[in-house]
Amino acid sequence: MRIAVCIKQVPDTEARLRVRGDARWIEEEDLPFKINESDEYALEEALTLAEATGGEVIVFSLGPERVKEALRKALALGAARAVHLSDAAFDGGDALATGKALATALAQEEIDLVLTGSQSDDVGYAGTGSVVAGHLGWPHAWLVMGVELEGDGASAKVIREMESGMNEIFRVELPAVLEIQAGINHPRYASLKGIMQAKKKPIEAKSAADLGLDASAVGAAGSRLEIVSVAFPESGEGAELIDAPPEEAAKLLVEKLQKEARVL
């Protein structure tokens, strides 16, 4: 089975974030980036399914030059090759524009199943995978917590997370796009051997022109959404901050919980 995985490289939100000078996005200089969390789980799921079926994994990512680092990591983890949607025209796309570009690149390959994460940790539109499925005319499922192939890959039994601790189990025909939820598996670590092998694996760059797409149909130009400004939430409201060394702060907090809040 040939499985494609779409991954996104996102800022490490544990890092200290700063608003960019024009206030339209965060400052990306010196910011650490990593593979989006749910995409890491999607990659692991794809590698496991490929191993079980004697297939291979092709990893796709859209973004600037730095994205190669994420693709190289996916190759080190076991993907066979990578496709990098690399073109300034792709930048700043919403879920519809990015989904269209990815679907066009995927359609140039023979693919039996597409996996991706359920939501990006940066803009969080949570719709790119579904849009890809729409363009390909395949079924999809979002927030997938289990995948079991049936009938030699003709269909899959899928577990989808619902609210309030419930799961729904259903069958979809393949090929399909499955948008994986974090926690479905335990992502592996790259081995030294894998890292060495990854250096020899191909990363193929594709521009908008390579995909036969007009630059105005993708990226920011092809998007209906435009981020006008970003900001840290206003403080002032919210917590009363107890600013003191740990022991002193602890005593003050206990006192407030007893006397003000009366919950201790």
Binding site: D121, D122, G165
Partner: protein, 328 residues
């Protein structure tokens, strides 16, 4: 009809999802701000009674698609029923509650209809050249303001708790059939079963005090001091999702949208950043304490008391202070 706002309500077994009322409130406000009519859309099977109930809210019309193929939700059937109706009526906005069900199909609906896709908004305001929409980004550490470019329908989902479920208004709307071809609608999933995830061995919904940990606790082997604090307080231990996904605590300890909903007297959030997926499960708590080393962590916005500190330094001191206070 550029002068129409549709609100697609989510129901199960003839009962509205709690966030459907919030979506009505959002849709009514949006209609008011744009000089449009607010109309509800309801999909399901055997939902005539629910449609009458919805007609009692402050809406201009209720459009119903009632067919056996819509009895169980599937994205194929929902997109199949809604897409022709949206193309036909061309409402300016279609508002959805931002539920797991909505997210499962509404991006596909946007792709199918050529509508814009605007997920998870918390508010909107009037700006130069149209509305500015607020939505959280980067794990809710920042807020973004977004505008929609171009013409045509906009599909927008509203985040849980962003609009008041009390502002549904009242009236007597006409109930009619949604203009679509239900005979052409097919399901794209064969539903097999719905099951509980973990059997909920631990019920945190009755807990008086909860000590909850986030990813920043750093590992299963780092839980000792947290357990001691919980013991000193007589508290139960809960966690945000990353802790559960890392197997540091069992799944029945998870608090949030895919875990339990709790409302203790005292909620102590240790190294929890405060992403919406977690806070929807605990914001009913009476008093919230947040301890986090990141001063920009969104949890501080909803906490009553905040301590900016490394939990590994603060928790042992807190435990001692609690023991001392209780001993005296």
């Amino acid at each position: 009809m550029a002068d129409t706002v549709w609100i697609v309500l989510q129901q199960r077994d003839g009962a509205l999802h709690r966030m459907s009322r919030e979506a009505i409130a959002a849709g009514r406000r949006l209609a008011e701000a744009t000089g449009a009519k607010a109309e509800a859309v309801l999909l399901g099977s055997g939902i005539g009674e629910l449609a009458q109930q919805v007609a009692g809210f402050g809406l201009a019309a209720v459009h119903v698609a009632d067919a056996p193929v819509l009895a169980d939700y599937t994205p194929g059937a929902y997109v199949g029923a809604l897409a022709p109706a949206i193309r036909d009526a061309a409402p300016a906005y279609v508002v959805f509650p931002h539920t797991y069900q909505t997210v499962d199909y509404f991006a596909r609906l946007a792709q199918e209809t050529g509508a814009a896709l605007l997920p998870e908004v918390t508010d909107f305001e009037s700006g130069d050249g149209g509305l500015l929409w607020h939505r959280p980004i980067l794990g809710a550490k920042l807020q973004s303001k977004v505008k929609v470019k171009g013409d045509g329908t906009v599909l927008v989902s509203v985040q849980s708790g962003a609009f008041s479920a009390d502002e549904t208004g009242s009236g007597s709307a006409a109930v009619g059939e949604l203009s679509t071809d239900l005979a052409a609608v097919t399901a794209d999933r064969e539903i097999l079963e719905v099951q509980e995830v973990a059997g909920e061995a631990v019920d945190l919904s009755k807990s008086e005090i909860i000590v909850a940990v986030g990813r920043g606790v750093g590992g299963k082997d780092k839980m000792g001091p947290v357990e001691e604090l919980a013991k000193a307080l007589g508290a139960d231990i809960g966690a945000s999702r990353p802790v559960i996904d890392s197997d540091w605590l069992p799944r029945d300890r998870q608090i949030g949208s895919s875990g339990q909903t709790v409302a203790p007297k005292l909620y102590i959030a240790l190294a929890i950043s405060g992403a919406i997926q977690h806070t929807v499960g605990m914001k009913g708590s009476q008093t919230v304490v947040a301890v986090n080393k990141d001063p920009n962590a969104p949890i501080f916005a909803l906490a009553d008391y905040g301590v900016i500190a490394d939990i590994h330094e603060f928790v042992p001191a807190f435990t001692e202070a609690v023991k001392e206070a209780k001993g005296s």
